[in-house]
């Protein structure tokens, strides 16, 4: 046996021995949970069993106690004599004597209006929540208020108001004392009326909601757009030559800037939109008749420099699409809108007062009609 074979044999024997006894292939014990079990005697086991036995059930059940017969709420009393058609004793409501000629009452003296508007911050732009992406959950929920832009439900503690204000409470130890302020938030509003039939539709809506109005972008306007309106110029062009000197005087005065009234550039589209939005937030057509909702009214009014409506300046300039009565209701709703939202004064650029001193607004309810 040569040396190589010996070395090989020793090495193999060593390897096999190590493999067999060295623990290479010894498996690790499987994980096992251990629970201690105590040994109990037969008596203890019987005692435990006895505790868990159900109570004995008597062979013959006890007689059931009948509940007291409840009064049959659905039973109606037997028809009395009064109910019989033949009795002729059914009382009809006493007819109030409504005076055929309604007596018109005298109007009490006009009250003195002392308006001291509460000092409130400027109304912030309406915080409208963007509509949810299309899908079953995007169906508008029924709401008491329908507005062009949906408004999320206000916080539970918030008082309904057109203006959103965060709650401010007085904190002790605060360095600067803040006036306590009640939290207010605009009322919840949906963009359109949702009937029960629409609300309970299981599948996708058959009709898509009315698209929202694209906000007017304040685009740079060509200067000619704000040039004096042709209507205003017409009288000048129709002036006979004999009136030329007075026209010249007028033109001269105008050119030289007669008076000290501040005049400035025309209102921008953004400023006009802000004014339009301010009025539209109070233009409530919810209580108008369907006839009045067909009427387009043009209402004119004047504003003070503080943005308040000049008393007595409101007037209906024009109306179309309905009877005089319907136009009156439409005008009154428009008047309420202008007065209510302008109670604290409209926010308009003071340097352009000449531009907005007199305003004419066309109220067109076409999009607000019941459809």
């Amino acid at each position: 046996m040569d040396t190589g074979t010996k070395i090989s044999a020793v090495a193999h024997v060593s390897l096999i021995s190590w493999a067999l006894f060295g623990g290479t292939f010894r498996s690790e014990p499987l994980p096992m949970s251990v629970q201690d079990v105590s040994v109990i005697t037969a008596e203890q086991f019987a005692a435990l069993q006895a505790q868990q036995l159900a109570p004995e059930v008597p062979v013959t059940p006890a007689a059931l106690q009948q509940p007291d017969a409840p009064e049959d709420e659905t039973n109606t009393p037997e028809p009395t004599e009064q109910d019989q058609p033949e009795s002729e004793t059914v009382e009809t409501p006493a007819e109030p004597e409504v005076e055929s000629e309604p007596k018109t009452l005298e109007l009490p003296p006009e009250p003195e209006l002392v308006e001291e508007p509460p000092t409130l911050t400027e109304p912030e732009p309406e915080t409208a929540v963007l509509p949810l992406p299309p899908g079953p959950s995007s169906q508008p929920a029924p709401s008491d208020k329908i507005a062009p832009d949906p408004i999320a439900p206000p916080p539970p503690d918030a008082r309904p108001d057109d203006i959103e204000t965060p709650p401010v409470s007085q904190e002790e130890g605060a360095e600067t004392q803040q006036e306590q302020q009640e939290q207010t938030a605009p009322e919840e509003a949906a963009p359109e009326i949702v009937t029960e039939a629409e609300e309970t539709q299981e599948s996708a809506p058959a009709t898509s909601p009315r698209p929202r109005v694209r906000p007017n972008r304040p685009a740079p306007e060509p200067e000619v757009a704000e040039a004096p309106e042709p209507e205003a110029q017409e009288p000048q062009t129709q002036e006979p030559e004999a009136a030329a000197p007075s026209a010249i005087e007028d033109a001269l005065a105008q050119a030289l800037g007669e008076g000290t009234e501040p005049s400035g550039p025309p209102l921008t589209s953004g400023e006009k939109d802000a004014m339009r939005l301010a009025v539209s937030r109070c233009w409530n057509v919810g209580s108008l008749s369907t006839d009045a909702l067909n009427v387009v009214v043009v209402v004119g009014f004047s504003l003070t420099r503080g943005g308040k409506v000049v008393g007595g300046s409101l007037r209906m300039i024009d109306s179309s699409g309905g009877s005089a009565g319907a136009a009156k209701q439409a005008y009154e709703a428009a008047r309420r809108a202008i007065l209510r939202c302008g109670a604290k004064g409209y926010t308009l650029p003071a340097d352009k007062y000449d531009q907005w001193q007199d305003i004419e607004i066309t109220f067109n309810p076409e999009r607000m009609r019941i459809k």
Binding site: E95, E97, A197, R336, W356
Partner: protein
């Protein structure tokens, strides 16, 4: 020289024009506003003495409830009032009402003299400080205090919305009591808001479908007293009834008055075929209006009496048709999915209310008289039998719940689909018929 000066000045004017103030007013156009209930306040009417105090409270509460119940008005709680109205003739402190955002204000006074009650009231547009209409006064006996309150509310509603009110009106309906398989039905009449229920028949026989006459003094209804459905007319004030003379061996049902109250249109089943007939009430003479093998029923006159809308299955499924009031060619107006029935013409003449069954659900809906602009207002297990308020703004109908314990209840809904709500009645109710405004 003068001409040269003129030209120069004109040129100067033109140059300066673009930077100068505009001459006309600022013109804006609004096409979007809001739709929400109009906030109003009804301070307690001023009583002229302690005896009138309770009436003053009750009347002002009924006025407020009437207006709030329309869904078009929202009452501002008296807790929010800054000032009270203690004198009917004192000037109104508009600033106090503006501060709480009341857009309309109703002030009133109640006078009691013996059994005679007098109610005066005024309606104010708070923000303009103007009175809407003139002050008005109603007088009556104390028993009629609710009617006087309804009349005040009708005036307020009318002055603010521009359309007639509907509060001083009554509703005839079938009062239902007992379980579904033993239901007892009685003809009943009540105020529009469920008050003052009075029963006109006993529950000995089944009664169906009461229908008010245009003047509200009579009721048509169908009774199974003889085993077969027959039509009766009932004098509401005297509770006296009379069976209308229809052909022997026939079944007659689904009657409705013509707008002049002199004739009725109804369904008559003879030999298994149901057609529409018209009867002159005074003479009892009937004339056939339709003659088809299909079932024609549920006729309803247009307010002008020229046309009739009715239900017919001549196309295979029940659909709505319109034809001349004296018979003639009928035009189908309903083309949507499902079955249409019980059409009722609006008192304004512009809409037709109907019941629709589609995909296992019932709806109350409205459409134009040409069938366009169909809108479904409700959806439930079973809605049927619409009837119009006198001003054509509200629809009342029957809603029945599912199951053996199902119950019939009267509901009302605005034609916009808003303000869906039950009408309170002592028992269950079905088949409402809304009467006209009372005189």
């Amino acid at each position: 020289m003068m001409r040269l000066l003129t030209v120069l000045l004109m040129g100067l004017t033109l140059v300066s024009a673009p930077v100068h103030a505009q001459n006309g007013p600022l013109r804006l156009e609004l096409d979007e506003g809001i739709i929400e209930p109009l906030p109003f306040a009804v301070p307690r009417f001023v009583p002229d003495g302690p005896s009138a105090s309770q009436y003053a409270t009750d009347i002002s509460r009924v006025v407020a409830a009437d207006l709030t119940g329309t869904g078009l008005f929202r009452e501002i709680s008296s807790d929010a009032f800054i000032s009270q109205v203690n004198s009917f003739d004192a000037p109104v402190q508009f600033a106090d009402w503006k501060a709480i955002n009341a857009e309309a204000l109703v002030t009133g006074a109640v006078n009691l003299s013996g059994n005679r009650l007098t109610v005066r009231f005024r309606v104010w547009d708070v923000f303009s400080g103007q009175e809407l209409g003139n002050g008005l006064q109603f007088a009556g006996t104390t028993e009629g205090w609710r009617r006087m309150a309804h009349k005040v509310a009708d005036q307020v509603y009318s002055r603010v919305t521009g359309e007639g009110g509907y509060f001083d009106s009554r509703v005839a309906f079938v009062s239902e009591s007992g379980p579904k398989d033993q239901r007892r039905k009685r003809l009943a009449i009540m105020d529009y808001d469920g008050a003052n229920v009075q029963y006109l028949t006993d529950s000995a026989s089944i009664v169906l479908a009461p229908r008010f006459s245009p003047s509200g003094d009579r009721l048509l209804y169908t009774s199974y007293e003889t085993g077969q459905p027959r039509i009766y007319v009932l004098d509401v004030a005297r509770v006296r009834r009379q069976e209308l003379n229809t052909l022997d061996g026939t079944m007659s049902f689904s009657p409705r008055f013509s707008p002049d109250g002199r004739s009725i249109v109804y369904s008559l089943t003879q030999g298994g075929n149901t057609d529409l007939w018209k009867m002159d009430i005074a003479s009892g003479q009937s004339v056939r209006l339709t003659n088809t093998p299909a079932i024609e029923t549920a006729p309803s006159y247009a307010p002008d009496g020229i046309q009739i809308v009715f239900e017919s299955d001549r196309s295979g499924t029940p659909q709505l048709y319109i034809m001349p009031a004296n018979g003639g060619e009928a035009t189908r107006i309903s083309f949507g999915q499902g079955r249409y029935g019980t059409p009722v013409w609006s008192p304004r003449g512009d809409l037709i209310a109907f019941t629709k069954q589609n995909k296992g659900r019932f709806h109350i809906g409205v459409m134009r008289v040409d069938g366009s602009e169909e809108r479904l207002l409700t959806a439930s297990f079973l809605d049927e039998g619409p009837t119009w308020s006198p001003n054509g703004r509200v629809i009342m109908f029957t809603r029945e719940t599912q199951g053996a314990s199902g119950r019939s209840t009267l509901y009302s809904v605005d034609i916009s689909g808003r303000n869906l709500k039950p009408v309170r009645t002592p028992d269950g109710g079905s088949d409402p018929s809304w009467g006209p405004l009372q005189n």
